[in-house]
Amino acid sequence: MTGSILFMLIIVLGGIAWFFGRVKASRFSADNKKRGAVHSLPNYHGWYVALWAIGPALLFLMIWNMASPALITDAALTSPAAEQLPQDPFARGAILAEARSIASGQQVQAFNPLSQSMVEPYRTAISYYRTLGMVAALLLVFACGAFGWLKLKPELRARTKIERVTMLLLLFASLIATITTIGIFVSLIFESARFFSMVSPIDFLFGTEWNPKAVAGPRGETGFGAIPLFWGTVFIGAIIAMIVAIPLGLMSAIYLTQYAPPNFRAWMKPILEVLAGVPTVVYGYFAALTVAPALRDFAVSIGISGASSESALAAGVVMGIMIIPFVSSMADDSIAAVPSAMRDGSLAMGATKSETIKKVLIPAALPGVVGGVLLAVSRAIGETMIVVMAAGLAANMTANPFSSVTTVTTQIVKLLTGDQEFDSPKTLAAFALGLVLFIVTLLLNLIALRVVKKYREAYE
């Protein structure tokens, strides 16, 4: 908490620095009435001083925060209590980590009595270095602020300097997205590589038995064959959901764009879009509470065996309904992009509206619709909560929609919310599944965008 108070304090001091800089600049602007004698407006001088006050101090704090844990550990190790610590680096590290988390208040009770003895040295070291950093940061604020203030003079090109800093800020902000993408890629690949050093990629990608164990079985089987998960994902997201979403979405789009009176369209379009705005956890709960039991009763009544209360059909249908607005808006766009000359020509030849739609508009809009469907599939296979709550955990390879199947996202959630050993292949498998999911959705998106773009160009 003291960290955020310090941060606030520095920001407030920056505000004061801004004020002083501005006052000084206003004074010499008032003295130099001659045109062009003062390069920048007083405001920019204020910002100039404020940046001097805040910038170096924040930079220092950032470096300090990275460097201080090592310094704290060194300081704590010089204390007399540290002499009892075991020499084994692993045991030593575990005790130190525990002591540190108790000292910083993240943990209340120590499991190891040795850690308890290390808490006090840690606490003193932490408070010593924290105070040191705080004092140094505040000193930096004052020193650099004063330096900036002293540099203010009429001919100072404050605006140019501020604008240069702002430009850097803009560039940095737009780099965050790239950094995030790289971060996703690197962290997934890094953790997956650790997983694949324990489990062969061939077994993972082409194995048919999913039953993850922390240790390999007698014949070296690990139960990390992900084919049943891939099948379940495709079955729910790309087959059942699309059987629901494509006809409903496409027909809704066609009716709304071609037949509906403007008034009806103005009301109905937002209502359908609400379907995409409902949180997925609500859909999941609805699927598990209402849809799945109803489907199971139905299956039992018509005599289908293997019906379970968690079924692929329940998850798939509800997911399909969630996707409807997505498909319909993509279809809407691509139908609207078909040149009206084609439509008018068909109508002029005596075709009815539905014949025009079926024989002219849809074939012409097909690439766009296909692109939209691909995007919808990519969204459906990445969807998590509905399948977690309604599809079940049993890794079955079955085409019976009434039985329970499991998906990639369900298993990621299951693997990461159980035990928390970070090095066990069970936890790392989640990252390997995540990597597969990421690559597949990425490819689907790239293909879909390319298809849509090609088709747009064809009519332009």
Partner: protein, 422 residues
């Protein structure tokens, strides 16, 4: 030449009135009507599903806002040994109340009126309602008062709908004494093991803190990168890379962001598990592309004449952007931001990855304390076996949907009110 002329002479004009032709036209019109009916039924089916979902949630959830109560007559003067109302006023009130032993007083009163097994009829934490009542209105400790206390969860379920057989029997027994009251606990409490005592305030507060952090990070970054990409970025491969990664991030499944948060924020940076800070950071990375994309469209919509006019009277490039373009684009950017935030508010999967699924019985006090959020709370309650949680889950869903509705309505209002069409 000759033969073709003969052909023209032989050809009769189409007889539109012939039976075959009429039949064909009827068939084509029927197909037309069928197609149109198919379209309208697709819309009705989709909208009907939405209506069904809402009806189920509201139908289940409204019961979650009420609780079944039984009257308990408490003879305070006899049982407290002459406590006065003044003891429970002011700052010392809560401390004095603790020494009073309200739980025992309530238990004794219950046993007097409902027999030895009487306590089993009531929710285990129900006596806390008496505590609150005394603090609110200390006068009652000097009199004999009748208070309404929440009953045990199974009886509550049985009274509102249909429950287990034993509970139904008890309801039949107590029929004329049971009543329904508003469940204030649901709005002020946090998670609990007893469905009669759960509330959403803890999760709601966690959601608000998380959203605050998300907004604090995603909004400035989103706006600044939208400005950079639209106003400054040179056309080169580097800019293309940024654009591709933003568009790509917008389509990455949300659970992948959870994996990123787990690997980077928790394992690499060592930030605390389950904290609102980590949740907010993760959701910020997810929301930022939405803000950038809507922000770029809003900036693009500002006409060039405004930029040229500002440049013409001597503004610098930076002044043009920050003094003229940004204020004009702001309503559009805000609309996009609210929509992105609404999506983040309903997000569950990435937060499960970073451990925000713990049982949190006290509302979080800061950004690094363990917290949970509303959608995750819904997910946790949906997993509970106890039937009392069904209505609580739906009630929490109603609260979540109300928040989302408000945010979206605000976005639409902003768009209609402030967005200028040039």
């Amino acid at each position: 030449m000759n033969s073709s002329a003969a052909f023209v002479e032989e050809r009769n004009p189409t007889d539109w009135q012939s039976d075959a032709m009429q039949q064909r036209i009827r068939k084509r019109y029927a197909a037309e009507r069928r197609f149109k009916a198919l379209g309208i039924s697709a819309i009705i089916l989709s909208a009907g599903f939405l209506a069904f979902l809402m009806i189920v949630m509201v139908g289940n959830g409204l019961r979650g806002f009420t609780q079944t109560e039984l009257p308990v007559e408490i003879d305070f003067p006899a049982m407290t040994g002459g406590a006065t109302a003044d003891q429970f006023r002011g700052a010392n009130g809560p401390a004095n109340l603790r020494t009073l032993g309200v739980q025992d007083i309530v238990n004794t009163s219950v046993q007097i009126q409902y027999g030895e097994e009487g306590s089993e009829l009531f929710s285990a934490g129900g006596w806390q309602a008496v505590n609150q009542e005394i603090l609110k209105n200390p006068q009652i400790v000097e009199t004999k008062t009748t208070l309404y206390l929440p009953v045990e969860s199974e009886i509550d379920v049985a009274f509102k709908g249909s429950g287990s057989e034993t509970a139904e029997n008890k309801v039949a027994e107590l029929k004329d004494r049971l009543s329904t009251g508003f469940n204030w606990n649901f709005l002020t409490n946090s998670d609990a093991t007893d469905p009669m005592q759960v509330g959403i305030w803890g999760a709601l507060k966690g959601s608000l803190i998380t959203m605050f952090i998300t907004l604090l990070i995603a909004f400035p970054i989103g706006v600044l990168s939208a400005l950079y990409l639209e106003e400054y970025a040179p056309k080169n491969r580097f800019t293309d890379l940024i654009e591709v990664s933003i568009n790509n991030l917008a389509a990455v499944p949300s659970i992948i962001f959870g994996l990123l948060g787990l690997a980077v924020f928790l394992n690499l940076f060592g930030l605390p598990r389950s904290a609102a800070l980590v949740g907010g950071l993760t959701l910020a990375l997810m929301t930022m592309p939405v803000i950038v994309i809507s922000g770029r469209n809003a900036v693009k919509a500002v006409p060039p004449s405004i930029r040229e006019a500002a440049l013409g009277i001597g503004a610098s490039q930076m002044q043009v952007v920050f003094h003229h373009v940004l204020p004009l684009a702001l309503p559009g950017i805000l609309t996009g931001t609210i929509i992105g935030m609404a999506r983040a508010l309903g997000e569950t999967a990435p937060l499960l990855m970073i451990g925000m699924r713990a049982f949190i019985a006290t509302p979080p006090g800061g950004i690094v304390e363990p917290a949970t959020v509303l959608p995750v709370q819904i997910f946790l309650w949906s997993d509970e076996v106890n039937r009392g949680f069904v209505e609580k889950t739906s009630a929490a869903i109603i609260v979540l949907l109300l928040f989302l509705l408000t945010m979206n309505a605000l976005a639409i209002y902003l768009r209609n009110r402030f967005e200028t069409r040039w």
